[in-house]
Chain length 327, copies 2
């Protein structure tokens, strides 16, 4: 698996999928397309296509694209509460190595996923969901902290990861939320995780489907201007279960409607027309840019290959020199 003369990080994650680096691309809906997922997989990580709510045409397009670009392991992620059987079947037809479900009970879908030969990855936001994931037969559990971009729960990564590790052992656990560089990956390993899943960092990569103007806003953020909100779900017409909110960059639309969700919902049809126009115009004073607090660590847009190489090399160096703390 090596190829270079360097020491490389081996964990339950790299073993499970035959990866060179314990780095997973978060399946950001509409942002983690086939090109980005393939680039992460080709760089030695695990690329997950972000199928989001399950748009069949989009998925078919991106999964076909991905299959033309990589022979390495890859996967797909979908929102559990929005998953339809025909979309599950469609995705499994492309033979992903990994199938990630988040935001809902994965148990109804687990048998089909495992029968198709995909590893089941369940993303959880608290200990109760972790136990459900274990009951579902998850091969890998992602503990996602509240600092992650996009939808998530209320618990923070640093205390959540070791608690999930203890709760589901010996199932391997991946850390997600707030990880943007090799320091975060090395910290995740110290917490008992087998690797890290990164979203926002890869949003601001050359291959992501995010628009340039959105990527520039992530690069400009110091991580302090993100917030969790429901307003973008309301205006887009998605009915999320109550305990999941979406973390995004604060913008004029969020400032206007946060705390006035009922008013927005009451006039959502009119607001949606204006919102969709803003999306088309890449007007991010109105349109959402999902982003996590790890934006503080992002100083520029880079290729996925460069990111995987840099993050893993930095983490390797931190681990290599960990004993230098010891006297």
């Amino acid at each position: 698996m090596h190829g270079t003369g360097e020491a490389m990080i081996a964990t339950a994650l790299t073993e499970l999928f035959g990866l060179r680096h314990p780095i997973v691309l978060a399946p950001m809906g509409g942002v983690s397309g086939g090109r980005l997922a393939a680039a992460v997989s080709n760089a030695g990580g695990l690329g997950l296509v972000g199928g989001g709510y399950g748009d069949a045409a989009w998925l078919r397009n991106e999964l076909s694209l991905l299959r033309g670009e990589t022979k390495r392991p890859w996967g797909v992620g979908l929102i559990t509460w929005s998953l339809r059987p025909e979309v599950l079947e469609l995705a499994l037809g492309y033979r992903p190595s990994a199938f990630l479900l988040s935001f809902g009970d994965p148990r109804p879908y687990a048998p089909a996923i495992k029968a198709a030969g995909s590893k089941l990855i369940c993303q959880v936001q608290d200990l109760e969901q972790a136990r459900v994931a274990r009951a579902a037969g998850a091969d890998l559990i992602v503990a996602e902290g509240t600092e992650a971009g996009g939808h998530g729960g209320a618990r923070a990564t640093l205390p959540l990861v070791p608690a999930v590790v203890d709760a589901v052992a010996p199932i391997p656990v991946l850390a997600a939320g707030g990880i943007g560089d090799g320091r975060g990956l090395a910290a995740a390993l110290m917490l008992g995780a087998c690797g890290a899943m990164l979203g926002t960092r890869f949003y601001a990569s050359a291959e992501s489907l995010g628009r340039d103007a959105a990527k520039r806003r992530i690069v400009a953020s110091d991580g302090g201007n993100t917030a969790r909100t429901r307003v973008f779900d309301i205006v887009r017409g998605y009915t999320w279960p109550g305990h999941f909110l979406g973390r995004a960059l604060r913008n004029r639309f969020m400032e206007r409607w946060d705390g006035r969700e009922a008013d927005l919902a009451a006039d959502a049809d009119a607001a949606r027309t204006a919102y969709q126009a803003a999306v088309g115009e890449e007007d991010y004073d109105t349109a959402v840019v999902w982003a996590g607090e790890g934006a503080s660590l992002i100083k520029g847009v880079e290729s996925a290959a460069a990111l995987v190489a840099k993050i893993s090399a930095d983490a390797e160096q931190r681990l290599q020199s960990a004993t230098s703390f010891l006297r």
Copy 2:
């Protein structure tokens, strides 16, 4: 500094104060008394007495107690916006090695602290405050994540720590919030911190001034029943600056008043009488138990010495075996 045959963790923190372990007791107001701070210092960490809002009689009592119990370095922490000059003077009169300020601009107090020979520790919750702390001449900066118990900001520890490290280098940075065991300490070091400050974990220690019934609630918590709120400040009559909220265990009082803060404030005098009675009766369905998400990692009440020994030994072992990830 060693004394045992074991490898021990040396960092800028242990060097700054001559500690055996890079572990700092958070100055929890009214909970981190002289006995607990002395126990942490005697165990090789740095004990900080929690002076809170600056009750002079309480401070005098606890600092006198502490000085009778330890010859090791120790310190005191106070709430900046509540700090009065006579309390500053009183605390400095006990010659603390460290003086921690949090929640406000430390610059007016920095000269007196440094002139008295104390090291200035500034606790910050975001990057803007980190830059103010640097301007104040802080010898050490604590990056406190939102998962911490008691008052804090909105940013989470895992992404906040490396961002603060980058922003204030070469000033050493301590990680706080969500750290409850050796895994968290080792992770903090990987993030670039020089050690960890622990609050909730020491709340549930034998020597803390927390009541047994409160400690039992922390032990029983899985970390998922904490929330940030203003209701306990309102009922106690403290006017905190708007961006700081306090993280506590959810209880009946919080459930009743959260979201109805204006109603509570309108009738705070009557509510206060009932609240204070509940405090006296150790009725924690009403009285507050400040606690962070690290409560998930706390399985019992232990002595401070046992905690310092176990957390540091676990972290040492993690660092020692970090290279086992490398192939």
